[in-house]
Each structure stands twice: as C-alpha cells, then as structure tokens.
Subunit: 439 residues, 2 copies
C-alpha cells in the first residue's frame, strides 16, 4: 500500500482528492497495490468542510503530513512560492517524494529543489505544471528523449488565449475581453501573472530545461503580455493573413537558445492559430521525430488533477519496485550542471509587424523606409489605411528578418520624425513562408 | 553499460542504428551509463552493406543476437508476423527485454507475447507501433492513467490520409491519388494492408487494449478501407460541410466498447479534418482530462526510430536500476484477464451520409423516405443534384442517429426499388452538432 499526503485543498487539490477516492479500484489495478489518500492538510476551514475527503483524514496543519512517517508521497498544491518552497524542501529533507503542479515554484526555486531532491535521493514530479492534463512533460522527458529539440511554440496560458480569442472573434477591446474572462472564471480578480505573460514564462523556463538539459533559468526569458493590445492590430494582422497569439517561443541552434514570451503573429492556417478559448497547445520540432503537436486543457480542476494523479501513480510504481530517481526530473542527470546560454532578446533575428501612426503627407513612407534601410531592415509588405485614427493614418509594414536591436533602434529614430505620432507599435511574426521568401 | 541487439536493418532499423550511434553521448547523459549497439542482424547482404553500422557488429543470423548472453534488449524490426513472432518469443524465453514497432504482430499475437513476457518477467515495449514518433502509447499507459477514456478518434495511417488529402484537394480519383502516393514513397507497391484499413485496425486494437484495460482483440473490429471511394462523395460531403477521413473510432460507455475503422465524414472545422498529408493524429477524451489531441508523423525512418529509441532508453533505465515490469505493457496488470465486450457493428448507432442514384421521377423521394421511416431512420438533410451521373440523379441524405442494422436493411430494400439504380452508397458521420440537433 502506498500512502499519499495532500497539502492544499483548493480547486486542484479537491480534484486530486476526488480522483484518489473515486478511482481507488482502477488505480489499484494499474499499480498492483492500493494507492491511498492518508491525510489532507488545508488551513481554510471552509475548504476543509467542502472537500471530498473523509473528516478523519483532514487536518489544518501541514506538519501533520510532513511528520507522518507513513506517508510516502507528499503532494504540494497550495500554490505561491514562499510557503510552498519551505514545504517542498521540508518534505524532501525528510525523504518524501514530492508531486507539485506549481510552475512558479519550479521556475523560481527549481534548481534548489531539484538539487535537494538529488541529494536526498527522492523524486520530484511536476507533469501538471505545464499544459495541465496534456502529458507534455512526459513526452519531453521520455517519449522524445532520442531527439534534439529544435523549436517549441506554445500557447501555455488559457486565460490569455481566451482573451485573445474573444478579442479576435468579437472585435472586443482588451478590457471587455478580460471582464468576460473573469465572469467565466478563466481569469482571476488580479490577472497580472497571466496577462503579463509571467505564468507563460514560468512554464517556458521548465520546457527549456527539459528540452535542452539545462538548469532552470527564468531571468533571461524576455516577456511581454497582452494587456496593451489594441484590437486594431488584431484586425490589421488578419488582413495580412495572421492571427495574434501569446506564444512561448524557444529555438535551439546547438550553440545558443532563444526563449521569449510575447504576443506573436502566426499564419492563420498554422495549427496553433486554431487553438481557441482556454485551450493550450505546444508545437515542437525534434530532429528525429519532426513536428509534433500536443493539445488539451491547460488548467481547471480535473485536467490538472489528471496530471497530478499520473505523477503520483508513477512515483508509486517506483515505490512498489523499491527504486527511486529512475528518470532525472529534467530527463538528464547533467541538466543541473551545464547551463546553456540564452540569447539576449536584442540578438534575436525575426520578422516584424510594425504599425506607424503617420500624418498623411508626401514623403512619409520614404522617410520611414529610409531609417529602416539604414538599420538593415527591409520591407516585405506595406499597407496604408485610408481611415484616420486620432488624426493620423496607420501604416503597417511586414519586415524581412531583422535583428531585434536594429528594429528597436530604428523605431526610436522613426518616433522622432515630425511626420509620425509616436510610439510605433510592433509585434514579432513567426511565419516559415516569410523566412523562405527572403532567401 | 546496456547492450542492444537489433534484428532487421530496413528503413526503421537503419534509423535506430543511426540514433544509437550518433546520439551515443546524449543517450549516455540521459541514462547515466552507456547505451551500446552490440550487434545488428540482417539477412539481406545489400542492406547490411548500406547500414550505418560498423562491419564487425553485423551478422546475417538472428540467432547471433538471441544467443548472445551479453545482450540486454532485443529490438525486433523485421516486420511481418510469423518469423517476428518466433523471434520475439525466443528472445522473451531467454529473458531478454524486447522492443518492437510491429503493430500487426501485436494485434495478432499480442496476448501470447505479453503473456509470455509476464511469465518470464521481461518487458515488451512498442511505442512505435501506433502513430510513429508521437508518444501516444506513453500517454495512454502513463500520462492519462487516472482517466476513464470515453472516446478515441484516430487518423492512424499516413498512406490513407495522404491519398484522401490528394483526392480532396485536387479532385483526383482514388487510382490517381494512389499512384501519386506510390511515386512519393507513401504507399507500397501492394498497398492492401494500408488502403483496406487493416493497418489502422491493428493499431486500433492496441489503443483499445491500452485505453480500456482489455486483452488485444482484432476480430470484432469492423473494417472498411478507402479503395472504393468515389471522388463524388468527397465533393458532396464537402457541400454539407464535411471532410472524409479514414478514422479509427472507439467509444466506451462503461459496459460495451465500440471499435471500428472506416471512411468517416467529420465537420470541416474539426481538428482532425485539418490533419493532412501523411500525418497522423489522435483525438481522445478522458473523463478527467477532457479532450486531448496528439499529432505528428506516424511513419518514416526517423520518426519511428525516435519512438523505438525512447523505448530502448526506458527499458535501459529499468536495467540500470535492477527493476523490470515496472509498468505493465498495457498499463494494467488485469488487462490480460478481463476481456471487455466489443459491440457488433450492427448495434452501433450513428449518423449516416447516404447517396442514392435515383431516376428523376415524381415520388422517388417519398418511396425512399418511406422505407427509411419504416426502419426508424429520420432524415436531417437532403440534397438532390441536378446533374446526371450514369443516367440517374444523385440524392444525398444525412440521417439522424440510426442503428447500423436498420440502415443496412433499409438500404437493401431501397436497392430493390425500380426507381433507384443500386447500390446505395453510405458513410458514417461523426458530428457532435448532429447528435445535439436530434435531442
């Protein structure tokens, strides 16, 4: 019999408790022995009362779980990074295996936690931390282990994807779409972590470590969110055949790694362009396997619980066979030793969508394109819209590949021109056809 | 050091040899010890000469591998079912762990092989048998292990999907599209196993066992292929908003299981409708996780080799830790003991697309719909085309849900009518909106 202690009975914790209880027979048949919820800790009395857990298993004190010598696996589902870090480190130091769904914890304290786990010979599993119920971490850590991963593009945050879908389908403003997402339960009262791309960056940090065997490192990931998006740019992007998505993007050319999170224009026939509402998806390319897409619900009570319980079952399988640390948490023992260089955003080379608000005077286009040319930025397409927005006319350019630093410098200079009303708005584009066109 | 013996140096075998050789360092870093190709057997001298394997490792004799006491893992990649069965059973009886990509072998002899493996305490892994490099079996066996799987829809055969994509995009006949597929290397000289749906059924048998913990059973899977498809039906289906795909379909209502393979109409905005060319994808629904899609290359040298090497690595991880049979091959120990009933096709209830070739006379529609009504089949939509095809006018009906046996009986009776020119053509439809419309 394998005994589980659960800390945190919020939405996901309740889902995990439900699966462990209702699926007891099925899980026992899979495992070959019983998998039992021994104790569940939750500080909030109302949540304890509402939890689908027998009263005698409930406790308000985390240490009742940490100090129970019979508990084999500790499941951390309280969220946040301070208390969670202490709890997880305490469990590890006591030789308990740990399951967590906490991407912020891993992104910020993952190296410390995984280092402690290696030292204490325990497993830390976190399938639910990225893409909820989609077995993406299992795929990267095991299923695709023979591959060099070249590229990953992910829609990793359901809140942002829901808001962008609403803005795009119904021509809503960001504020309207956010209110709608909050009303539907897809966005929290304070949506900062989601809409500013921070949650997506946490998840990307985990994927980068898994894909390229490198320590967790959130700092060099450039992040911008969706809270400043103007619906005008979604409409104009559409006219060029693009959809706007908040993407986590990573590339590995063998020497350096790109890792960035920002609203991105992708062709409307790209598979990720059709991922709508609160769904998540990752499109990745391995050198052997080629392109792969995994798609599903990235959040919510039961999808997340599905991933947590699959982790519990996996660790339980180790316990019944008397093994541990069978697969390193990041798929590779060396992962914590060999940091790979992540390219600063300024060095990234990509295509851009740039919108200028220009006065409708002769010579404007030549002044703008002159400055772009000076910075080695060539133009693949331009549209100038007749309609005036705040006294100026939008000019939209799609560029060939250009260096980020050059683009930013060019836009600073263009913003000084008396014929444009600053600031220029720009978004990065991921479009393989545009790459090809330049060759 | 873990030593691998490879039997079969065809396309996939060469890919596996390449990965084991070229990725030696990376695999060692993942595993924590060396993973070495000890020997490779191939009866064909030309293939031996062409193989990316050092000459001293090559042998024409399978038994050089089976009888080598140093080999830990035997990889069977010869294909076919007779010799492969003997080889795999011989390896198992000698206590070797086995990796195979052979779906036909598993569908036909899987219970015998997995039974022998259980008896001898060895592992049999077969990630590459379904959807090539896509880690679908890993997902079903482990990642989604907390779920009851309700539904699976799969495009599991790249040859058929390539042919259907060509027919649909370029209004080609089946024969033209097949010739194109053969020219591109997507179809074999004798395409029977692929185009008649047999390969898809082999794969579905494996998925059904994994998803529902039941012994492998190919017999009750109803199969029809794509070789009789008339491009006219692809065109007419499109007018109703449908795409035609060869789908593996399975449903589990807790009591009985549906499992069938046939050309199927699906809404054009369904994710599977946009899986084109030689790609594979599976859309499945688990009760906790909700809908999931996995997509990628289902065949080819390196995608398949990617899956085979991930299996080798997984078994090697067991070997280095001194464990075996950590996860049962079908995800559940009871799987070989508890056969589940698979519903005969006659009992399936679904929607139909039916095309009649009718003489353009008054009363035809009322005669046809009278017979359908008598068999409890009600009509959701009808179109009658002005254009004549072989002296008759096509009438196409989309039905509400009806029992397969009733539909077949009704069509037999309609085919007797003097005003129609038999036989009526029918395809099954998977369209959630159509289900809903009937309620």
């Amino acid at each position: 019999m394998i005994k589980v202690g659960l800390i945190g009975l919020g939405t996901v914790g309740q889902g995990v408790a439900r699966l462990l209880t209702e699926r007891r027979d099925m899980l026992a048949r899979r495992l070959g022995t019983e998998l039992v919820l021994k104790k569940a800790a939750e500080i909030d009395a109302e949540r304890r009362a509402a939890a689908p857990v027998a009263t005698e298993l409930l406790t308000p004190r985390d240490r009742d779980i940490l100090e129970d010598p019979e508990i084999d696996i500790v499941v951390e589902l309280i969220g946040g990074t301070d208390v969670a870090r202490e709890l997880v480190l305490a469990a590890i130091s006591r030789g308990r295996h740990v399951v967590t769904a906490n991407k912020a914890l891993l992104a910020l304290h993952g190296n410390e936690i995984l280092g402690a786990a290696a030292q204490n010979g325990v497993d830390v599993a976190f399938e639910a931390a990225v893409c909820g119920g989609v077995p993406l971490i299992l795929a990267l850590r095991q299923g695709l282990a023979a591959n060099r991963i070249h590229e990953m593009f992910g829609i990793l945050n359901g809140t942002c994807n829901y808001i962008l879908t609403q803005m795009s389908l119904h021509d809503m403003s960001y504020e309207q779409a956010l209110a709608e997402a909050q009303a539907q339960g897809y966005a929290e009262a304070d949506p900062t972590l989601d809409v500013e791309g921070i949650d997506t960056a946490h998840k990307l940090a985990i994927l980068v470590s898994l894909a390229y065997c490198t320590p967790l490192n959130l700092d060099p990931i450039a992040v911008s969110g969706i809270s400043n998006l103007d619906p005008l740019d979604l409409q104009l992007a559409r006219e060029f055949g693009y959809a706007m998505k908040l993407l986590a993007i990573s590339r590995n050319d063998g020497r350096t790694i790109e890792a960035r999170v920002h609203p991105t224009l992708i062709p409307r026939d790209h598979m990720l362009a059709n991922v709508s509402g609160a769904f998540n998806a990752v499109h990745l390319t391995g050198d052997a396997v080629g392109p792969i897409l995994l798609y599903g619900q990235g959040a919510g009570m039961m999808p997340t619980a599905s991933a947590v319980v699959s982790d519990i079952l996996d660790l339980a399988r180790n316990l019944t066979r008397g093994v541990k640390c069978r697969v390193p948490p990041l798929g590779c023992d060396a992962a914590l030793e060999a940091p790979r260089h992540i390219k600063p955003l300024d060095e990234v080379v990509t295509n851009y969508y740039i919108r200028f608000a220009a006065l409708d005077r002769p010579g404007v286009l030549s002044q703008i394109s002159g400055i772009l040319g000076k910075h080695n930025i060539s133009i693949a397409a331009v549209i100038q819209k007749g309609r005036e927005v705040k006294g100026a006319v939008p000019i939209v350019m799609i560029t060939h590949e250009a260096r980020e630093a050059n683009t930013r410098q060019a836009l600073l200079e263009i913003d000084q021109l008396p014929v444009v009303s600053p600031p220029a708005v720009f978004y990065r584009i991921e479009d393989p056809h545009l790459h090809a066109a330049q060759i």
